[in-house]
Amino acid sequence: MTRVLAHSETPLTRGLDEYIGSPMYAVLPEHGMALLGFFGLLVATWWVRRRARRDALRPDGTMAAWLRLAPEHRFLAWLLTASAVIHLGLTLGHEPSGLTLLYAIAGVAFARVARRLVAGRPWRRWTRLILVGSLLGYAVSSMAGGSPDQVGMSTKLIELTALAIAATPLRPGRWRRLAASTGTVLAVAVVGIGAWIGALGAGEGGHHHGEVPPPGVLLPVGDDRPATAQERAAAEALHAATVTALSRWHDPAAAAADGFQTDGIRGLDFHAPNPRFQNDGVVLDPSRPEHLVYALGPDGPVLIGAMFEMEGIGVAGPAVGGPMTVWHAHDHICVTPAPPSIAGLVSPYGACPLGAIAVPITHEMLHVWVVPEAPEEFGDLDEGWLRAYLNGELRAGG
């Protein structure tokens, strides 16, 4: 750990390297060899084609046989070889384990079916089987806690494209084609859903990660230590000041009169921004919070807290309470320009919903919760507790 979070008189700035984010948007160090192997294959392909143009390939050799294939089969053989190279690279990048053995088996299997295809031997059944096995294996291992990363997902994109070609029916027929197309689209969705589950579950630690934030959240690198007495007192003072300052905005109409955008309150954490406070050069002032947070309960909107926001990307928030008041930023969020609104997160396939654009990083922000008896005063508020509070279950029970 490299940085102690502490209050600073002058604003600190943080580079991307000083945040911890979801591994889904990064290349894990263990997968570097696989990536290198893939780029090596690209260079090798360019070299083979160059030699072929010069007529310098052995006419009875594998490369010449590959170039004589029909275009779709040539492309399929290349995709299978790419997957083989990446899996063998993964074997080299990992410590010996059961998973490493599976990578090696998959690498050899992909290489063998690519060879069969080039050699003109029957390949269809084996290729489909190995591709489906590899894709399903990835989805299952993701769901079991292994977060995807950029190398894993790009390999799956390669394999899904290969599956789409290999699944093309040999004989014509509307239903066969429909089944093949539907199968491909569903395979893309299943692998993607598995990757989402893996990425969201990786927060609890998993395949070589330890604790990491969920996708879309960036936390500053910091010391895992208890707060000092001074930090605890500062955090408590900030919380008390926020509770007092926010009391005048329990009614959304009063908040709207002061410039907060409270129209359309819905859900459990509706953020009502105040454009005036967002650009006033004042930071962490309880009387000028950049956002109010409302939850829609059975009896209408309930003010549950405030969100303070820094001005400027990478500008570190003053962590007055040390580890009690850790600021966070968001990354890879999908935003629609008109009206400005969050549409989701960048998917494991690197795409946003249509009409939204990927915003790579946001300002730093800190939530302060003012709901009485809330289990957390800063950071994330437990959703189950909030639901129970809104439904009156906690008040009824004392």
Binding site: A70, F75, T161, S181, V188, A189, A351, P353
Partner: protein, 147 residues
């Protein structure tokens, strides 16, 4: 022989394969928008409709390209250019805000796949598979596929 394919030859199956994967990616994005709106985040109207339209369009285009529909090639070219435009905007924003380009998977989705499709669609042998209909010309009669 497994390498014989008597109904689809050449580069069209590769185009169809890539477009099907793109349709799957759009379908996953659609599921995400539905879930995001179900949990009460954001204003999902525009992205929900646009993503639904995008997924349906890609599925339609995969089918239309396979059947060599006259307008399918141009429509698919336009769709791929749109995807590259989104990629350029995302890359520009990433460079501007973080000083780094987009990651490997977004680069594949927004650049490698669309550029591959455009490159294939612009090849003479693929162009030749899509008959150009002149103004006032009647469409070719439908031929039933053997099943």
């Amino acid at each position: 022989m497994d390498n014989d394919n008597d109904n689809d030859n050449g580069l069209i199956p590769v185009v169809v394969a890539v477009v099907l994967v793109q349709a799957g990616i759009a379908l996953l994005a659609l599921i995400e928008v539905i879930l995001v709106s179900a949990f009460g985040f954001g204003q999902p109207g525009l992205p929900l409709l646009a993503t639904l339209a995008g997924a349906v369009t890609m599925l339609y285009l995969a089918r239309a390209v396979r059947r060599r529909r006259p307008r399918a090639r141009r429509l698919l070219l336009a769709a791929e250019v749109l995807m590259i435009t989104i990629g350029v905007a995302s890359t520009g924003l990433a460079l501007l805000m973080t000083g780094r380009p987009i990651e490997l998977v977004p680069a594949m989705t927004h650049f490698v796949m669309p550029v591959a499709v455009i490159w294939l669609l612009r090849r003479p042998e693929v162009r030749a598979e899509f008959p150009r209909r002149r103004r006032g010309e009647m469409p070719a009669p439908l031929v039933m596929e053997a099943s």
